[in-house]
């Protein structure tokens, strides 16, 4: 077999791909991920099976009483994608760690071992080297994810759960979202590798970003509170004699079949007109609504910088077939889904476009910095 006219990118990519297969570090983390995938699939199946039993029993009891109303407390038909829920949790930690391990020494290792200098004296452009490396790492990530997804699907099939077409489409979308998430951490670690003088510093930078991404959703509440100050009082005496206050959030039309899935603490306290003990007519303070609207916006803006948060939002709407994420400010924490309503994948993804965009921007910026830095650096 001849190897003439093979593009240098592919030569480097094949080498990089083989290096991962020969790397003990990579294989150990991949092994852990594979093990967690199987465990996650089995526990996911057990959870799905329980939900299905609960759903069936509640459905039969509802049908026997009032078959036209399904109010709070009645669960919707569980999705087979619930089987992926544990997997999603594992990949958010171990997967991110694997991506970091694949990228943090991509460039620094070659510098430290003196092989980069050697490689670049042969007829290959620098952009071919970095493109090849990214191609090799990307291919390996796709292979890792594909194998874990296929393993999960195999477990589903083993237990007799056959995904429908819509489920399969969502599984593919979840695969894409997971790939996007792992590519984000690959981009972060490769960037760290190109800007650092050695692998130790590169891994520290990448892990620092990972930790920041993990804690941002926790501290964003505190930060937004610090910025906005204390909340104004929720209820104020009504100056209007009208009773037309917007109370859609708390009232339910009995002709509509609704399932309340989640209600935020902020919103759950918001009610319609109230009457205090002294007989004064009370209404919701507009400043209170404005306060929470701004505070949620700040919180969500901060959360956007967290890859893990973005991934959780995206996987949530895909796997739970939601029309918007539960903690999104777009519906101010109030999330309703009709039990009989089918939420299309497009609707789900549209509600998290900002999270998808955030991950894409992180990938593009990360790889962009790595690319420019690698092209310009003097190899001495």
């Amino acid at each position: 077999m001849t190897i003439k006219n093979v593009r240098p990118e592919f030569i480097v990519a094949v080498k990089e791909f083989k290096d991962y297969l020969n790397s003990k570090r990579f294989m150990v983390i991949f092994g852990v991920l594979a093990l967690l995938t199987i465990i996650g699939a089995i526990t996911g199946y057990i959870s799905y099976s329980d939900s299905l039993t609960t759903y069936n029993s509640q459905l039969s009891s509802t049908n026997s009483t009032m078959n036209f109303v399904r109010g709070p407390g009645i669960v919707s038909m569980p999705s087979v994608l619930n089987i992926f829920s544990s997997y999603g949790t594992y990949i958010a930690s171990v997967g991110a760690f694997l991506a970091i391990c694949m990228g943090f020494d991509m460039i620094t290792r070659e510098k430290e071992e003196g092989t980069l200098k050697l490689l670049l004296t042969h007829p290959v452009f620098r952009d071919s080297v970095i493109n090849g490396k990214l191609l090799g790492a990307g291919s390996m990530l796709v292979m890792v994810l594909a194998s874990t997804f296929l393993a999960t699907i195999a477990v589903m099939m083993f237990f007799g759960v056959v995904p429908a077409v819509d489920d399969l489409t969502r599984i593919v979308a979840f695969f894409g979202a997971t790939l996007l998430f792992m590519f984000t951490f690959l981009a972060i670690s490769v960037t760290a590798s190109t800007i650092s003088g050695n692998s130790s510093m590169a891994v520290l930078i990448a892990i620092f970003v990972l930790i920041i991404g993990a804690v941002v959703p926790d501290i964003s509440t505190t930060v937004s509170e610090a910025i906005m100050g204390s909340e104004p009082s929720m209820m104020i005496p009504s100056t209007s004699t009208s009773t037309s206050t917007d109370n859609s959030a708390s009232s339910f039309d009995s002709s509509t079949t609704m399932t309340v899935v989640a209600v935020s603490s902020a919103q759950s306290d918001q009610g319609g007109p109230d009457f205090r003990g002294n007989g004064t007519r009370m209404t919701i303070n507009p400043e209170y609504t404005s306060y929470w609207s701004t505070r949620n916006a700040i919180q969500n803006t901060l959360n956007i910088i967290s890859p893990t948060y973005n991934y959780q939002m995206i996987s949530q709407v895909i796997n739970e077939k939601l029309s918007s994420p539960r903690t999104s400010s777009t519906n101010q924490g109030f999330f309703i889904r009709s039990a009989d309503q089918t939420v299309s994948l497009w609707t789900s993804l549209s509600s998290v476009w900002i999270n998808i965009l955030a991950l894409l921007v992180m990938i593009i910026v990360g790889f962009g910095i790595a690319y420019v830095r690698f092209i310009r650096v003097d190899v001495r």
Partner: protein, 301 residues
Amino acid sequence: MIRTENLTKTYNGVKAVDSVSLKVEKGEVFGFLGPNGSGKTTTIGMIVGLIEPTAGKCFINDVEVTRNPLEAKKITGYLPDGIGFYPTLTAKQNLKYFSKFYGMSDSEADKRIEELLEYVGLKGVQTHSGGFSRGMKQRLGLAQALINDPQVIFMDEPTNGLDPQGVVQFRNIITDLASKGKTIFFSSHVLSEVQLVCRNIGVISKGKIIADGTTEDVRRKLQKNDFVTISVAVSGKIPELKTPGIVEASYNGSSAIIRARTDIRNGISTELSGNGHQISELRVIERSLEDVFLETVYGGV
């Protein structure tokens, strides 16, 4: 074959290489001499396309390196200082990887690799290069530099850290390559090593070429403003000399060592003969290139 024109590299406002202009003819073994940190590696890095020059141009076989780096690299081999290889690959696997960038077929590459491993004395070594000694790495480094059968070979301090046997073997390889018509650019900070294999040398100090040409040319250029040392001896006790031009003199019985600004042997001879002394020795003490090099470049260490 190798030509640089005012090659300059500046790092943070400091000139690591300052207007270096060199010319190396085809088939020549050129010694690039200078102390550590003088700019040798940076100069070579620019010529082989690893470092982008701040100013100036470099050509290999009339191919401008910065404009056509791939064309230049196809006819160039480079053995860098502090060479490293992919530690999980064997010598053969490392060479196979590099051979792929030259579009060689598998059979061509395998044949070439076998030849090279035998040439550098690594035939049959199956261990991963991560376990190689410094000497083995240098040998493998030379093999990778020759993988494309280059016309020009750059070697950056190739004998650094080698044992005496390794140094001799490397020297023989350089001589052998030169006999095959290869142009060799060989850097070192050890003059004696360069003198043994090179006819032409260039001396770099603080980023600037301070002398180049044949070893004799370089010696003359380096001691251009130096004093002439004359050894003189007579039968009997030598008198104190009054010849004009003497800067310093030390007398020891029948002989003396005279330092003068110019060669004043005729004047000394006239003075001594006029005073009735029979001259038994009157010669200029030639300083070796090593002496001149050490004094000029290292400040007389």
